[in-house]
Symmetry: C2
Subunit: 292 residues, 2 copies
Amino acid sequence: MRDFSQDHRWLSINTATVRRSGGQELPLPAIIEACAERGIRAISPWRDQVHAAGLADVSRMVREHGLALSGYCRGGMFPAADAAGLQAAHDDNRRAVDEARELNAACLVLVVGGLPGALQGRAAHKDIAGAREQVREGIATLLEYARGVGMPLAIEPLHPMYAADRACVNTMEQALDLCDALDPRRSGALGVAVDVYHVWWDPKLQQQIARAGKERLLAFHVCDWLTPTTDLLNDRGMMGDGVIDIPRIRGWVEAQGFAGFSEVEIFSTGNWWQRPHAEVLDTCIARHRSVV
Amino acid sequence: MRDFSQDHRWLSINTATVRRSGGQELPLPAIIEACAERGIRAISPWRDQVHAAGLADVSRMVREHGLALSGYCRGGMFPAADAAGLQAAHDDNRRAVDEARELNAACLVLVVGGLPGALQGRAAHKDIAGAREQVREGIATLLEYARGVGMPLAIEPLHPMYAADRACVNTMEQALDLCDALDPRRSGALGVAVDVYHVWWDPKLQQQIARAGKERLLAFHVCDWLTPTTDLLNDRGMMGDGVIDIPRIRGWVEAQGFAGFSEVEIFSTGNWWQRPHAEVLDTCIARHRSVV
């Protein structure tokens, strides 16, 4: 297992972590500058942040600073209530692949979607098996395109509390079943993003990380699970402040040969998004060295 | 699959559903009277409610009204940080078995516990595998006693969002692995409580219900998953108000031969606990007939 205690060369910042600074929105260029100033070598930006700043400008900044992208957030949201919705998702996902390619991201992270309309509080139906079939078909189609342009797709199993509205792929086992079905040769074009927040509870986690193997372990995300957790979406903890044994999980991932970045992704309306981003980034660096 | 549309003979009320009426605490005797008045044939009371009313009085009321207990809530909370804590949990669980016996409950429901101290926001450690081992040992010991007095134990896999603080058994598969290990002969002394709120998201649910079979399906609980869900514990929905395909899951359970009560268990600080309990119970009856 790599020693993270001496430096932060393997730290990546998911830019959602500092999308707000002191409660105010922080534009992506400012995030990039703040990361570069601290010798952070990688980021993982969100599409809305990239669009707001302009893809060409972001691409230029990333290159000038020599930043790597540990991933690009995000594609997915495949299920839809009708053919037009499915086509719109398909088109948008191709654009996401193109953007990830332009930014030279390591992978496009897929948050696959749940029941159509549920995120707006108006689920079109209750057929989660049907939604999962649309996800399978959506990934299969996107994979053909992504493979052609050389952009790996990383399915991110989301915590089961997001099954209805954000992602109906909820365990590593389920994600890897998809990988086995759609990329049986383990080509590297399709794999998983392992976020400890989503999977730490899973009694089969160690087994499924071993099953994934190096070819399918495309990204590793960290934060922490707080007790109590006061919001289903935006109350993630800083590494070390919760109950996840992060080094143990990183050990399992690295035992398979994963040697990429450890990406910090924290959504925190009430705490970290209220603090100055400088403090948040400095804390990420410190915790990366001490508890990841 | 049984036809529930004509009456509510298979409805049971978990008494937590009406533990508050119009925002005020409602004592168990009043709950029992209100259920009996409506021809509800079964309840599942919580221990704190029974203790507050007195076990002997509750036992007498239940007998006088001819009420069945679809379960008794609850035993469990096995993990502890030290030997004294383990012993205290053991002793308390024996008392819970005795109370369930006195009330002639169909089973004692086990919410197995998580990381010691996490429910108080002060987890003693991060070793969820260790907590799971304590759960296995705790159930094994309790099972000897419960078998002796003829009280079935129903392990309730809780939603993974409770893994840290309430129950580190989080899937049907994991619960059934425990059953297979501790009661390989499928004697009926150990099984599972299937609560749709906790398991509806699981891609292996149908498969694992079939694996459980009649001998291990000891209880069936219903409510609904709301989108959005605003609180991790106390924002459960009334059946029909959320995204769970309850009849589909009930069909899977009944296909195995389950013929017990469908128990309504709703924790709802902001909605149902604010309403008069008469309205809540009448709604439970109506929804039992129309959407369960």
